[in-house]
Subunit: 239 residues, 2 copies
DNA sequence: CTTATTGTGTGACTAAACTCACTCATGTTG
DNA sequence: CAACATGAGTGAGTTTAGTCACACAATAAG
């Protein structure tokens, strides 16, 4: 992980749950692949029999409906682990995983992982905690997207972005990830135009600012008020 | 489980994941409590260090915002297992668990469960599969609530209800659980009035019917069309 | 059997968010 | 440096869902 001159707000969610020894055990059963930006790791309907670890790069998990409207559920980045293990035979993916920048992705076969957990109780416990954390993140997102209207959804997403891609810059937080208004819209189930207008309002109120398609958070508490943020741990409050 | 003269659509999600032997192991570390309808199993902010098994009864997991609007995330019933294990020290509940009928609830301390998983690899694997299934259910719900408007959210909820509380009656499915329009509204983040009007529309189209506050599904495919249902397994598509 | 209480049904109005149509800015490519 | 593509910004109009205000039905309680 590259060291930054600015202090990092971000934290890697995996390293907080997995001990080094146990993560090494998982690394031993990984198969590495290189994938170019724009390709797909899996499509909706593909068998869901693997976990993935992003050694380098980023992956978006999306879902499209009949009218072509897209919803971005997760944006995974370097160091993230993701995948399904649900024990239903013939389980398939319900979403699509899109590589958004050239990446090195490691696959972990569920079967191999099961064997590992059989043998290493400590790993099983840690893996379970990680799964629990991921589930909690999804639940938190569901709450934020449902309960506080579109402005609340957007603010909660900005807080998540600051936890995932934020670097402190004086009193402000710079979101290092470039995002278009359309992408933000797809993350909260709104339209580009609505997001544009809402960002405008937030800028007018001095809550955020923008510098060449980077968002800068000037008043985190302002955002928190709008989405009734409860200050949940930053490894749960993520994209 | 009482045997019914009508064939059951419902399936218990736990028994499909846990083998009898392993479930017995879990039963050995359970502590039983009786709780009356209207009481609370836990409140938002309480430490989250237990799992729960409903031996008899039902429990709602809800969240309220500042304006008093309530959101019902899950409705658990007899035979269901639920709870959190996320490995964050001092982890607390973000939602409230409300007993909705006189119940017998068994607590499982996370600590005890961890020990058990340490010792029994097969149990650990099954538990993981169960957690994955629960997570998948939450993801499916998030998708349905976000992507297809309020009518879509309602239809997906009716399908979930039929998977959870449905009994086949001729060509129809009767939903055995009594639900008020307000409860349905709180499940999909809508208002009572909107739900009332949407149910009226569905009745007019012959998709559902109502008999003394019980909903009867007459045209499941009609519902499926509205929420672009993909026929996900009925142990994932639940309340 | 009367009276509360709780839930349903409905119309009129308001607010939130989406759609469409277009302009302007920025960045990329031959 | 044109020419094109992509994204931002904005107004006008429409659709969707929420709010408010009641009437009425069903159920429970005294």
């Amino acid at each position: 992980m590259a060291k930054q001159t600015q202090s990092e707000v971000t934290s890697n969610r995996n390293t907080e749950v997995f001990s080094q020894e146990n993560f090494k055990l998982i690394e031993e059963i990984m198969y590495e692949t290189k994938l170019a930006a724009g390709t797909h790791l899996y499509w909706e309907g593909d068998p869901a029999d693997k976990f993935f670890y992003i050694k380098q790069g980023s992956v978006q998990i999306t879902k499209s409906n009949d009218e072509g409207k897209q919803f971005i559920l997760y944006m995974h980045q370097t160091g993230d682990l993701f995948g399904q293990l649900d024990g239903l035979h013939g389980s398939t993916h319900t979403m699509t995983a899109e590589i958004t920048e050239d990446s090195v992705i490691c696959s972990i076969l569920s079967k191999d992982l099961e064997v590992l957990m059989w043998q290493h109780g400590a790993l099983a416990v840690e893996f379970m905690k990680w799964m629990g954390m991921m589930h909690r993140m999804t639940q938190a997102k569901l709450r934020d997207l449902m309960m506080f209207g579109k402005p609340g959804a957007l603010c909660s997403m900005l807080i998540r972005l600051s936890n995932t891609y934020g670097t402190v810059r004086g009193d402000d937080i710079l979101i290092t990830k470039k995002l278009t208004n359309s992408e933000l819209a797809d993350m909260i189930g709104a339209t580009r135009e609505s997001v544009n207008r809402m960002l405008g309002d937030l800028k007018k109120d001095g809550i955020i600012d923008q510098e060449s398609s980077h968002i800068i958070i000037k008043d985190l508490d302002g955002l928190r008020t709008i989405c009734q943020c409860e200050n949940c741990p930053s490894n749960v409050c993520r994209i």
